[in-house]
């Protein structure tokens, strides 16, 4: 893997996908080494806020040397990002994290599963899997009819939708949608809120299939140095020796069996 770097990136475009959900393309050489499931740290210009904001890679365009980030405005950093205009220069740190193990899904019945702001990283995942000839089902959970990115997924995957309010697809969560649509699979690649990930871990265990889940935690360094972002692991991991894997470096994607969530 290429060396990590903190470098300038140029905003190529910015648009709104749903209420509070933004879609930004960045031109950056980091794109050349980006794998699905990895993330970048985006630095707000606001000098009162010094830490990078971890944002997953939603899509990669290697020809344009571009990364797509889809993010929800939740605080001061993301609120600042939402103001960026094409041409703006920002600082990013990357490429961070391990990404999804595509090889574990290739040629198998693969499901990518996302919930809420966990949807974006699955897009590039579905894209690369489908480009490698794997048939992918995308099972995505949303709050309501604002099913952002679902048109993009349809290019690479069979699309199944769950919404909390039942306005589109299955009323309920992604597992409900799996069941309602009788989706069968061998491997799940997932990102979303913790309750969803717990349900997926249980589901995979019950069905005897593999699940790889992308976790989230507060981060400071993003590169594995500060030990801020750990999650409990079943086995003492090679780095910490105390059952604490670093989500930023050993993850964010883990075999669901390996982590205690």
């Amino acid at each position: 893997m290429a060396k990590k770097a903190k470098i300038e990136a140029r905003v190529l475009s910015q648009s709104i996908l749903a209420e509070g959900i933004y879609d930004m393309w960045l031109e950056t050489e980091l794109a050349m080494d980006a794998h699905p499931g990895q993330f970048v740290g985006v630095y707000p210009a606001n000098k009162a806020t010094l830490l990078p904001r971890p944002i997953s890679i939603c899509e990669v365009d290697k020809e344009k040397s571009a990364l797509r980030l889809v993010y929800r405005v939740v605080g001061s950093g993301t609120a600042e990002f939402a103001l960026y205009q094409p041409g703006d220069i920002i600082m990013i740190l990357g490429i961070l994290g391990n990404g999804f193990p595509l090889e574990a899904a290739e040629g198998k019945r693969a499901v990518v599963m996302g919930g809420g702001i966990g949807v974006p990283p699955l897009l590039q995942t579905a894209k690369e899997l489908s480009q490698k000839g794997t048939e992918v089902t995308a099972v995505m959970g949303y709050r309501n009819e604002e099913t952002f990115l679902s048109d993009d997924f349809k290019k690479y995957a069979k699309m199944v939708i769950a919404t909390e309010d039942g306005s589109v697809g299955t009323k309920g969560n992604v597992i409900d949608a799996m069941n309602e649509n009788s989706v069968e699979c061998d491997v799940i690649l997932a990102c979303g809120p913790m309750p969803m990930l717990r349900a997926i871990k249980q589901y995979a265990q019950d069905k005897g299939i593999k699940a790889y889940i992308s976790l989230e935690e507060r981060m400071a360094c993003g590169v594995g140095a500060c030990l801020g972002c750990v999650c409990k692991t079943k086995e003492a991991d090679h780095h910490s020796h105390v059952h604490n894997a670093r989500i930023c470096t050993d993850g964010p994607v883990f075999d669901a069996e390996d982590v205690e969530i």
């Binding site: 000098k47 010094l50 935690e217 400071a220 500060c226 105390v242």
Partner: protein, 301 residues
């Protein structure tokens, strides 16, 4: 132009070190910076046995800085020696090992164990971590306890000993004097200042540990003041830290009386910070025709 400094007989190619716990043992940041260009790598605190640290969330951002409550997670001295010290063997920089413990005996065990490790140039004793319940900061907030642990460590230590002081005290001068009187070869400060953040929307503490140690540019004025007070209270060298982000910041600490400086939380903001500090010091020296960095120490009027 000389940027070399000496602390307790150990020479450093420049005064720029890293803050323990902000740089791992150098592996992660070696992707960004040339460790050979650092005055010293100061490792994350290591204990006699592995420590799991605190529950998450362990870090949170605050205005101009951050709070952390890592709780000194570490793999224990055995793994540390085998893995981290081996990694550092290939680099031409000084190695300072930061030591933590819950009881005096814990500290002594690590100090003794490191005695024969040739790769270890100095020891930094963390008696000031606000994020673990037992030990640690208790030693750093009571001058008698500090005197006691320092003298006991000095009896067994083969490398020179730096005592890392807590800013969470009424008088930093008294603590510095206690460390000196007990035989410390140097002191380093400041460790983090205890802080708290509350998530008012969830009505919960931002950190699982409730409180955390504050670091970053926001604490710099407090750190500079304490380095000034401490270095005027003792004759042993002082390693200054707290919010250093640039060569100018480093010069400020040196003028306040520090012999060397450390970059902590700003590594997280910019992984190249240490290099920018090294270069920034040199460019200050060029601009003002300073021949020897040691001439700047304590020069503020």
């Amino acid at each position: 132009m000389n940027t070399q400094v000496e602390i307790a007989g150990v020479e450093f190619k420049n005064p720029v070190m890293v803050g323990s716990g902000t740089f791992g043992s150098g592996v992660e940041y070696s992707e960004f910076v040339d460790l050979n260009k650092l005055g010293a790598v100061v490792t994350k605190g290591v204990a006699n046995v592995p420590w799991p640290g605190n529950p998450v969330p362990r870090v949170t951002e605050v205005y101009g800085g951050m709070l952390n409550a890592i709780g000194l997670q570490n793999p224990g001295i055995d793994v540390f020696v085998e893995r981290d010290l081996s990694f550092l063997k290939d680099y031409d920089t000084r190695v300072i090992v930061n030591v933590c413990g819950k009881s005096v005996e814990d500290y002594l065990e690590v100090v003794e164990r490191l005695g024969d490790e040739k790769r270890v140039d100095m020891l930094e004793i963390n008696v000031s971590c606000p994020n673990v319940k037992e030990g640690a900061i208790a030693f750093g907030q009571n001058k008698d306890a500090l005197f006691d642990i320092t003298s006991r460590i000095k009896k067994v230590a083969k490398q020179p000993v730096i005592m890392k002081l807590s800013p969470n005290v009424t008088s930093i001068s008294e603590m510095a004097k206690a460390a000196e009187a007990a035989g410390a070869d140097a002191i380093s400060l400041i460790n983090t200042i205890t802080g708290m953040k509350i998530d008012i929307h969830r009505r919960k503490f931002a950190l699982a540990n409730k409180t955390g140690g504050m670091s970053g540019p926001a604490i710099k004025p407090v750190a500079v003041r304490m380095v000034y007070e401490a270095s005027h209270a003792v004759n042993i060298p002082v390693i200054g830290m707290g919010g250093i982000a640039s060569g100018d910041d480093a010069i400020e600490f040196i003028m306040a009386g520090a012999t060397a400086v450390a970059v902590g939380a700003m590594n997280f903001h910019d992984p190249y910070t240490t290099m920018r500090v090294v270069e920034g010091i040199e460019s200050y020296m060029r601009r003002y025709n300073v021949e020897d960095i040691n001439d700047l120490r304590g020069c503020v009027e």
